[in-house]
């Protein structure tokens, strides 16, 4: 009996230590976020006060958020972000899924070499390709357009790799059965592989949307016009002015921009976790 009690005590102590460590890391991750929220509702003079209050003494959230929404065409940035991210993801799927299916399930000469090429593609950081992409888009006269924001990302080696790994786990029998049932190769992809691969597609979608919604690097290079700005780029417009004056609206703008991702996360929490543990598995 006493050993049992001892065990319980030990387990409780272990759980305590574990939660303590987790709480500490969470705190580190959340502090900038909380700071952002706090600044977004403060008047300018309170922001630079030496003493810190989490909640402002004089609430000026309304002013800051109004400034964020009116000083820059914030709704336009959000719509741009939505359009660019959705288009990138759809086009990526259009390329990835057939490629991944061919690499995973079809037998043809040179398949392994092609897959090795995909793996090499995974090793190349996107920044290394920025200048070639820029030059290409310049040659085709596509700079400063939606096409410039979208086209460089349409072929995702990561997507091909991820989907190929998932498709390999789909039993060959299922594809054989589909062939006997009269499905052609594209119908197999559309009617069998895609529905079966929904978890993998969701996982990849999360990575893709988060990456391109938050991307600042490429839009900064590819786009100049304000009306083409994505959210992350648009937020720079605040900084261009006298930053001190506009820190409150800037933080309000940042809050508006991350809000969609946070809301999406809250709705699809389980999918996020599945997606990440799925990629860890493969």
């Amino acid at each position: 009996m006493s050993t049992l009690a001892h065990l319980f005590r030990m387990l409780r102590w272990r759980a305590f230590a574990r939660h303590g460590a987790l709480a500490l890391t969470t705190l580190f991750a959340l502090i900038p976020f909380v700071w952002m929220l706090s600044l977004s509702v403060k008047p300018p003079e309170e922001i630079f006060q030496p003493e810190f209050h989490l909640w402002p003494q004089q609430f000026s959230g309304v002013e800051n958020y109004r400034a964020a929404l009116t000083a820059a065409p914030m709704h336009l940035f959000l719509i741009n972000g939505l359009f660019v991210c959705a288009t990138i993801f759809l086009l990526q799927m259009l390329v990835c899924v057939p490629c991944a299916y061919a690499l995973a399930k079809l037998r043809f000469r040179g398949r392994d070499t092609l897959f090795a090429a995909v793996l090499v593609g995974l090793l190349v950081p996107p920044q290394a390709l920025a200048i070639p992409h820029f030059v290409l888009l310049h040659v085709f006269g596509l700079l400063d357009s939606y096409a410039a924001l979208i086209l460089p990302w349409v072929i995702s080696t990561f997507g091909i790799f991820l989907m190929r790994q998932f498709f390999r786990a789909v039993p060959d029998e299922l594809i054989d059965a589909a062939r006997l049932d009269g499905l052609g190769e594209f119908e197999i992809i559309w009617r069998v592989m895609i529905p079966v691969a929904v978890p993998a597609i969701a996982a990849f979608g999360i990575f893709s949307v988060v990456a391109h919604w938050n991307d600042l690097f490429w839009p900064l290079i590819a786009v100049r016009s304000e009306e083409l700005s994505t959210p992350a780029l648009g937020i720079l417009l605040f900084r261009d002015d006298e930053a001190g004056q506009f820190l409150g609206p800037l933080m309000a703008g940042a809050t508006i921009i991350v809000a969609p991702l946070v809301v999406a996360f809250l709705f699809a929490q389980q999918r996020f976790i599945d997606g990440i543990s799925f990629t860890a598995r493969t």
């Binding site: 039993p171 029998e173 299922l174 054989d176 059965a177 589909a178 062939r179 006997l180 049932d181 009269g182 499905l183 119908e187 009617r191 069998v192 529905p195 079966v196 929904v198």
Partner: protein, 374 residues
Amino acid sequence: MSGIALSAIVKCHGATPVLRGISLDIRHGEFLTLVGPSGCGKSTLLRIIAGLDAQDAGEVVIAGRKVDGLRPKDRDVAMVFQAYALYPHLSVFDNMALPLRMRRLSGAQRLPLVGALSRGRRPIEEGIRREIEETAALLDIAHLLSRKPGQLSGGQRQRVALGRAMVRHPAVFLMDEPLSNLDAKLRVQMRAEITALHRRLGSTFVFVTHDQAEAMTMSDRVAVMMAGELIQVGAPDELYVDPRDLRVAEFIGSPKINVVPAAALDQGTRAAMIAVPGASTLAFRPEAAELCAPAAGVLAGVIVTVENLGSDIFLHVAARPAHSEGTLPLIVRVAPSARRFAIGEMVGIDPDPARMLQFDASGRRLRARERVAA
């Protein structure tokens, strides 16, 4: 008539031959089982019939039509797979409807949203629904039609897989070890159900298994394959009583046939038992021998195990052959009422010479001259 004719089918994986020239005629309406140890090429042969793999040489004719260039869906065959291969995202109904929709609806009618609006689709869908309901009633899965495969037990999935194969009324059913994922009791039950189904449908069934008991209990004819070759094709009892090859004799029948190398016998016994010159191996079934006093038997040994099945008792005996070291494991069937046997008891074994099978050094069956004449 929907028979299948295979002639000289050859298939190699790289340099390794998997099928070495298989020729086989499967009659219309026949239940033929391809049986053999794993890796003998039986599944490959089935896939070649289905059109999922292409043979390197030879010809496949289904229902009088050469099908070599045809895709699986154009061959009028249906296949049931080992792991059932049901579409996990579709309900049982949609699983069974897919092959019918693929055949009866046009490409435009199959489109997700546009298709539903198309004019001719409704009567076709109603026809499909009626047929699926009939098939489902036949297989006793009508109450499962709205479920997903993940919510079904192994036996239910098996029935759905059969149903999906049946709805389109194919000329030929191909089954690739469809019972091996079921537990022992269900397997025996499904054996009976599949044979009953075969009788009712009257279609040609080609069934692949590594389990000789399945082959023996279900088939009209059994084709035994070993190492890419067809060794013997015949009715189950023919294979059991009259095997043409030692490997067939050893593969068919449970418990296994007793194999006695002629070299293990002393001069006198050898002369008494070998009826054909050149026989180097003798074999007899457990029921083709009697027990006797140790001194009176052709072979003698110690009882190692007593396997009591109620209807029969199988005695496992470690016989001591005359001219070799070690022991020779033998199995003898005795009637349950006979008497009690103790492990360690010394017994004599007296095989019936008329039922003794004789094989030459390469394992080929040798027949006594009078039987050849007859």
